[in-house]
C-alpha cells in the first residue's frame, strides 16, 4: 500500500501568556491511499488541531508531516495555500459556502485559484455537482438549498480539484440523522471510487462508517484500530 500521509512525532504547542498548552504532545501515524479513516476524540482532545495540521491550515510546532511525498511541515503560507488547493478537499460541519454565490460558483472557486479557464471550470464544476446529484440546483444560492444539499455542494467543491485527500470535519453535525446517513453514504461511495477520506467526529455512529478509527485523547493517540474486511478473517 502506498502511503499518502506520514506524520511523525507531531507536537503542537500554544503559548498562552505564561502557560504553555500542548494540544498535541507526540503524534505519529501513517495513512495509505484509498483509506477511510475516522479521527475521534472528545472536545479538547486535540483532534481539531490535528485536523488543521492534516488540512495544512496550520503547521506543527515540531515533527514532520509528509503529504503525498511532500514535506508540508516547513512550508510558508503561500505554499500551504497551494497544497490546500491541489491536494485537499474540505468538508465542514457548517458547510462554509459563500452565501452570495450560487452552487456552481461555489464549486468553481477552487478551480479559479488553480488557474483554470472559465469554460473548463464550468464544465468540471457541473460534472462535480452532477456527481453528487445536484444537476438541477446549480444556479441556487446556499440559502435556497436544504442542509443536505448544501453539504453536497461542499462535497462537490471538495472533489472538484481532484484532491488526494478529502478531509471532513463533523460532516453530519448540522444535519438530521436521515440526511446525515445520505451524506455518509456519499462519502463511502467516493471512497469506493478510490478517494482517501478522513472524517473528524466525536460520534461513534458516524465513525463506524470508516474502516479505521484513530482515537485521540489529551493530545496523544489512544487507540488505532482497523476493522478487517469482510471475509478477511
Amino acid at each position: 500500500m502506498e502511503s499518502l500521509i506520514k506524520i511523525e512525532n507531531i507536537v503542537k504547542r500554544y503559548d498562552m501568556g505564561a502557560e504553555e498548552l500542548y494540544a498535541l504532545k507526540n503524534v505519529s501515524f501513517e495513512i495509505n491511499k484509498n483509506e477511510y479513516v475516522a479521527i475521534m476524540g472528545p472536545s479538547g482532545s486535540g483532534k481539531s488541531t490535528l485536523m488543521n495540521i492534516i488540512g495544512c491550515l496550520d503547521t506543527p510546532t515540531s515533527g514532520t508531516y509528509i503529504l503525498n511525498g511532500k514535506d508540508v511541515s516547513e512550508m510558508d503560507d503561500n505554499e500551504l495555500a497551494h497544497i490546500r488547493n491541489k491536494e485537499i478537499g474540505f468538508v465542514f460541519q457548517t458547510f462554509n459556502l459563500l452565501a452570495r454565490s450560487n452552487a456552481l460558483h461555489n464549486v468553481e472557486l477552487p478551480l479559479v485559484y488553480a488557474g483554470i479557464s472559465k469554460n473548463e471550470r464550468i464544465k468540471i464544476a457541473e460534472d462535480a455537482l452532477a456527481s453528487v446529484g445536484l444537476e438541477d440546483r446549480m444556479k441556487h444560492k446556499p440559502n435556497e438549498l436544504s442542509g443536505g444539499q448544501r453539504q453536497r455542494v461542499a462535497i462537490a467543491r471538495a472533489l472538484v480539484n481532484n484532491p488526494s485527500l478529502i478531509l471532513a470535519d463533523e460532516p453530519t453535525g448540522n444535519l438530521d440523522t436521515k440526511t446525515g446517513e445520505e451524506i455518509m453514504a456519499l462519502l463511502a461511495d467516493l471512497n469506493s471510487k478510490g478517494n482517501t477520506i478522513i472524517i473528524v467526529t466525536h460520534e461513534k455512529d458516524i465513525a463506524k462508517h470508516a474502516r479505521r478509527i484513530i482515537k485521540i485523547r489529551d493530545g496523544l493517540i489512544a487507540d488505532d484500530t482497523t476493522k478487517p474486511l469482510k471475509g478477511e478473517i
Binding site: 491550515l57 497551494h82 491541489k86 462554509n96 472557486l109 479559479v112 485559484y113
Partner: protein
C-alpha cells in the same frame, strides 16, 4: 494566466460586495465624490480663466514694448512715478532715429471724449492720437474701410477710425464710412472701422475708442500729457535685446547719468502674465488644500468601511484561504473592492462636475472640461482607492485561516 483569472474573479467579488451594500458604498464614497467634483471643477475653471486671460491680453501683444511714465504693477511709491518727467514726442523721435531692432513703432496719447453723429452721441469714448504705424505695431485688422496713411498721419488730416462699440452706438443702421462725426467739438471724417477686439481682462472695452492722427490730436487737445511709445520688436525671441537697446537709447534721450535709475517704465505683456500667475497660483493652492482635505476625509471613510467589510467577511476569507486563495489573492480582492468604490465615487464626482462645468460655460466664463482633467480625476480616485484600501486589505491577507473559519 493565473493572475488574470484571479483578478477577474476579484472584480466579480467586489461588484457583488458593493451591490450587496449599495447604500453603505454610496455613503462611504461621498467624500471622494466631493473631492473629485471639486478637483475637476477647479481645474476646469482655471482652464477657462486661462483661456479668457490669454484672449484678453492678446490685444497687448506679446512682442510689443510700451515705454511709459509708469510701470505696470509697479511696486515703488506712487510719488516717485508721479514726479518723473513726461515722455514726449521728442523721445519717440529719438528712439525712432536710433533703434535698430524695432520693426515698427507708434506713439499713443489719449483722453476720454464725447463722440457725436447727428442725434446720436456716446460719452467717455477713448480718443487716441497715434501714427499710421499703429496698425502694424498692434496688428490691427479693419472690419470696414482703411487705417490712415502716412500722409494723413504726418499732415494731421481730420480722419478717424472708430471701434465697433462706437459704430454700433452711432451708426446702428447705416454705414459709417465717409460720414462726419464730432470728437469733442471737432469734426472728423470716418475712414475705417477697427475689427472687434474685446476687452482687456474683461474690465474695459478696447472697442469703445476712436483713433485719430497724433498730429491732429496734439493740435486740438494740446501736448501737455505723457505719451506711451509702443514698439514692436523685430523678433519676438529677441525681445529682451530690443528691450535693452531701447532702454539705453531712452536713457541717452533723457540724459541719465549711469548711477541714476531709469525714470521711465518699459512695459510688456509679460508683466500681466507674471501678476496673473501669482494670482492663479494662489487660487490653485487654496483649491488644492480644499480638495485634498475632502479627498483625505473621503479616504478615511473608505478605509473605515473597508475595515468593516473585511471584518464581516472574516469567514469568507477563511473559506477562500482553505480552498487555496493565497495572501496576495485576498489582498488584491480587497484592494480591487476599495479601488472600485473610489472609482465609482470618481465617476459620480465627474457626473456632478461635468454638468456644472456646462453651467459655468453658459453663464460665467467660457470653458470646457479638458479630457486630461477627466483622466486626472479618475486616476486620483483610483489612487485614493488603493491607498485607503491598503491597510484593511493587508489585514485581511494576514488572517489566520483556522481563526477566520471559526469566526461567526
Amino acid at each position: 494566466m493565473n493572475f488574470f483569472l484571479e483578478t477577474k474573479e476579484n472584480f466579480a467579488i467586489s461588484f457583488k460586495a458593493i451591490t450587496a451594500n449599495k447604500m453603505r458604498s454610496i455613503l462611504a464614497t461621498l467624500g471622494i465624490v466631493i473631492g473629485i467634483a471639486a478637483v475637476t471643477l477647479m481645474q476646469t475653471a482655471i482652464e477657462g480663466i486661462n483661456i479668457a486671460f490669454e484672449k484678453s491680453i492678446a490685444a497687448i501683444g506679446a512682442d510689443v514694448l510700451y515705454i511709459q511714465k509708469f510701470e505696470w504693477f509697479g511696486k515703488e511709491d506712487f510719488e516717485l512715478y508721479r514726479n518723473r518727467r513726461d515722455i514726449t514726442m521728442y523721445h519717440f523721435d529719438y528712439i525712432k532715429r536710433n533703434a535698430t531692432t524695432v520693426a515698427s513703432m507708434c506713439p499713443t496719447m489719449g483722453s476720454p471724449r464725447t463722440i457725436q453723429y447727428g442725434e446720436y452721441s456716446l460719452q467717455n469714448v477713448f480718443a487716441i492720437g497715434t501714427t499710421n504705424e499703429y496698425q502694424e505695431t498692434f496688428g490691427i485688422d479693419m472690419e470696414d474701410g482703411r487705417f490712415f496713411t502716412q500722409k494723413e498721419s504726418d499732415a494731421g488730416y481730420p480722419v478717424v477710425c472708430i471701434g465697433t462699440d462706437v459704430k454700433n452706438a452711432l451708426f446702428p443702421n447705416s454705414n459709417p464710412i465717409g460720414k462726419s462725426i464730432k470728437v469733442g467739438t471737432y469734426s472728423f471724417k470716418v475712414i475705417g472701422v477697427v475689427e472687434k477686439q474685446g476687452s482687456l481682462l474683461g474690465l474695459f472695452s478696447l472697442d469703445n475708442r476712436v483713433i485719430i492722427p497724433a498730429e491732429r490730436f496734439t493740435k486740438i487737445f494740446g501736448t501737455r500729457r505723457s505719451i506711451s511709445i509702443n514698439l514692436k520688436a523685430e523678433d519676438l525671441n529677441n525681445i529682451e535685446d530690443t528691450r535693452e537697446e531701447v532702454r539705453s537709447i531712452m536713457r541717452k534721450a533723457r540724459k541719465l547719468q549711469p548711477w541714476v535709475k531709469d525714470d521711465f517704465g518699459i512695459n510688456q505683456q509679460e508683466a500681466f502674465r507674471q501678476t496673473y500667475e501669482q494670482l492663479t497660483s494662489l487660487i490653485k493652492i487654496i483649491g488644492l488644500i480644499i480638495t485634498s482635505l475632502s479627498l483625505i476625509v473621503g479616504s478615511v471613510g473608505i478605509t473605515n468601511i473597508m475595515f468593516v467589510s473585511v471584518k464581516e467577511r472574516t469567514k469568507e476569507i477563511g473559506i477562500r484561504k482553505a480552498i487555496g486563495a493565497k495572501r496576495s489573492t485576498i489582498l488584491m480582492q480587497f484592494l480591487i473592492e476599495s479601488a472600485t468604490i473610489c472609482l465609482m465615487g470618481g465617476f459620480i464626482g465627474l457626473m456632478i462636475s461635468f454638468p456644472l462645468s456646462l453651467i459655468i460655460n453658459a453663464f460665467v466664463l467660457p470653458t470646457s472640461m479638458p479630457l486630461w482633467v477627466v483622466i486626472l480625476g479618475l486616476f486620483i480616485s483610483l489612487l485614493f482607492g488603493v491607498l485607503s484600501g491598503f491597510f484593511p486589505a493587508f489585514n485581511a491577507s494576514k488572517m489566520d485561516p483556522v481563526e477566520s473559519l471559526r469566526y461567526e
